[in-house]
């Protein structure tokens, strides 16, 4: 298989890939180490956030086009899964793929009008798009269930451990593909767009096309994650489109280190789990949690894991290029 060897060839010399591989292999063992279903549930949520954050990162972390409405693609996947499952009886597994495609379609539809926008205008436009979608779920409550959302989706596996493994496998697939893209020549072009889009155009690159493809890929995995989440909860509602979630995803990526894929994934676990454990201190939780975020942003503005990842030596000097 040509594509598999190519992906492997791209990843094999990259230390961050090994960091990711070791971490995810360890995560495969978690159900053998604990039978605490509450913890497993928290980790399923972390898996879902890892998918959301890494898919945000391939567009925004790499190309610098900060998308403040990633939840639009997540919501498209979640509501798409609900309709396809409830009305057409599409099985959950197939929905993961179909809703990824629905997300990608939304990515292109949003990408085309938004891409000429720069800086805060892009952020505002994408945020507005997600807000409009959230609002529409209320206005069209006859079809969307309004605030109540849509209930009764088929469960995707037969239990919490099954959900955990499926979501972890989705994380593994997502991160392998996104890291391979990130380290590929296409990833390098996305980084050049982030650094200086004008110079990238002057180098003969059709930057619009690359950004649009990045939008579609990012939205695909967001839609897939949204579909999983909907089936996992057997429910979807307007919260899947909320701006708070969109901003949380951006915070996860900032803390982890934008444009690294590994960083946002590790940060998704770190923040989800610490957020849960801080519940034990009651009302102080939010204070400690946000205080922690402020400290990290102040002292490690490029992300907690970036500092570590950049110090890892590269294997094999031969393929030092790209």
């Amino acid at each position: 298989m040509n594509i598999v060897t190519r992906i492997w060839g791209t990843l094999i010399s990259r230390p961050p890939f090994y960091v990711m591989a070791i971490f995810l292999l360890f995560m495969l063992l978690v159900p053998f180490l604990t039978d605490d279903l509450y913890l497993i549930g928290v980790l399923v949520l972390a898996n879902v956030y890892a998918i959301f954050a890494s898919s945000w990162d391939i567009l925004s972390g790499y190309s610098g086009k900060e998308n403040f409405g990633h939840t639009l693609f997540i919501g498209a996947g979640a509501y798409g899964a609900a309709y396809l499952n409830l009305y057409l009886g599409v099985p959950p597994m197939l929905n993961l793929l179909l809703c990824g495609l629905i997300g990608a379609v939304f990515g292109v539809l949003i990408g085309i009008p938004c891409l000429p926008l720069v800086g805060p205008y892009l952020a505002l436009a994408t945020m507005a798009a997600a807000s409009i979608a959230e609002r529409l779920t209320m206005i069209l409550s006859k079809y969307t269930g309004g605030e109540e959302g849509l209930y009764g989706l088929d469960p995707i596996t037969d239990g919490p451990v099954g959900d955990y493994y499926l979501s972890l496998i989705l994380v593994i697939i997502t991160t392998i593909i996104l890291m391979a893209i990130g380290y590929s020549k296409q990833g390098l072009i996305l980084r050049s767009i982030k650094e200086d889009e004008t110079a990238s155009e002057a180098a003969g690159i059709n930057t619009t096309r690359y950004k649009l493809v990045a939008f579609a890929i990012s939205a695909f995995f967001a839609g897939m994650g949204g579909a999983f989440y909907a089936h996992y909860q057997m429910y979807t509602g307007p919260s899947s489109l909320s701006i708070i979630m969109a901003v949380t995803i951006i915070i996860v990526c900032m803390i982890g280190g934008m444009g690294t894929i590994v960083g946002p994934v590790l940060a998704a676990y770190m923040l989800t789990v610490s957020n849960e454990f801080l519940r034990s201190i009651g009302d102080l939780r939010l204070l400690v949690y946000t205080g922690l975020l402020v400290v990290i942003v102040l002292f490690l503005p490029r992300g907690v894991f970036t500092v570590i990842l950049e110090r890892l030596p590269r294997f094999g000097q031969k393929s030092r290029g790209v």
Binding site: L188, R191, S200, E201, A202, A203, G204, V322
Partner: protein, 253 residues
């Protein structure tokens, strides 16, 4: 009308009432080099931005090899074989010298133009060799001095296999030795039938390279001729060199 070279016809560009280019007309044959001079704000860089697709002209027409390029996007202009460098260098700061160059080697024009079997890595190394930056391939560009950054700009342009290069003050910030090396590179490009349009304030070196000079002032073409003609042109002396300024211009070498 010839199908060769570049033809600029009556190009006008205004910014909110300020005329940056006014009725600029000239043509340049393939394989030739022309210098552009003019006081600051004369519209030289605006002219480059209009030709390379970064700005849209209000009026006028630009034809390259018989094709109207007036409404093309920058990457489409590169695709036709016209590459440019920037007066203020624009490296991809977080990337290495090699990575900077390979972005251009990944452009459709570069992929199409290089010999079969040659990879983008090889194209990038090749052009880095031409500008004598190959020994710094893995250095982050944030470490590079100005001379290297200027050469990196040119390497990135060369990696797109251009037939026409627009150089915007390539000699500024270079040491004497670096200037000699760059002049040598420009002569090599001319030997390879590359067409060159070059903005430069360093008149001595410009006049040694370009047998033809275009003078812009307030967006208008003030003069178009050989260095000797330019240096003797009354209005040029007044507008650009100052009343007695031409005494300082050495056109002999």
């Amino acid at each position: 009308m010839t199908k060769d070279g570049l033809e600029i016809r009556a190009v006008t560009k205004t910014f909110e009432g300020l005329t940056a280019l006014s009725d600029v007309t000239f043509s340049l044959e393939d394989g030739k080099i022309m210098g552009i001079i003019g006081p600051n704000g004369a519209g030289k860089t605006t002219l480059f931005n209009v030709i390379s697709g970064f700005l849209r002209a209000d009026q006028g027409q630009m034809v390259y090899h018989g094709k109207d390029i007036s409404s093309l996007k920058p990457h489409q202009v590169v695709d036709l074989g016209m590459a440019r460098t920037f007066q203020i260098v624009r490296p991809f700061k977080s990337m290495s010298v090699f990575e900077n160059t390979i972005v251009a080697a990944l452009s459709p024009r570069s992929r199409r133009s290089r010999p079969k079997g040659v990879k983008s890595d090889e194209t990038a190394m090749n052009v880095l060799g031409r500008v004598a930056l190959d020994h710094k391939r893995d250095e982050p560009v944030s470490n590079l001095p100005m001379g290297d950054l200027r050469r990196l700009e040119i390497a990135r342009a060369l990696a797109t296999y251009p037939q026409f290069i627009l150089l915007d003050e390539p000699f500024s910030g270079l040491s004497l030795k670096e200037m000699d090396a760059l002049a040598g590179l420009i002569r090599n490009l001319l030997d390879e039938k590359c067409t060159i349009l070059i903005i430069e304030h360093k008149l001595k070196i410009l006049m040694s390279l370009a047998p033809r000079i275009l003078v812009l002032d307030y967006g208008k073409v003030l003069a178009d001729g050989t260095p000797a003609e330019i240096a003797d042109n009354e209005s040029v002396i007044r507008a650009y060199l100052g009343r007695r300024g031409h005494a300082g211009v050495d056109t002999t070498n």
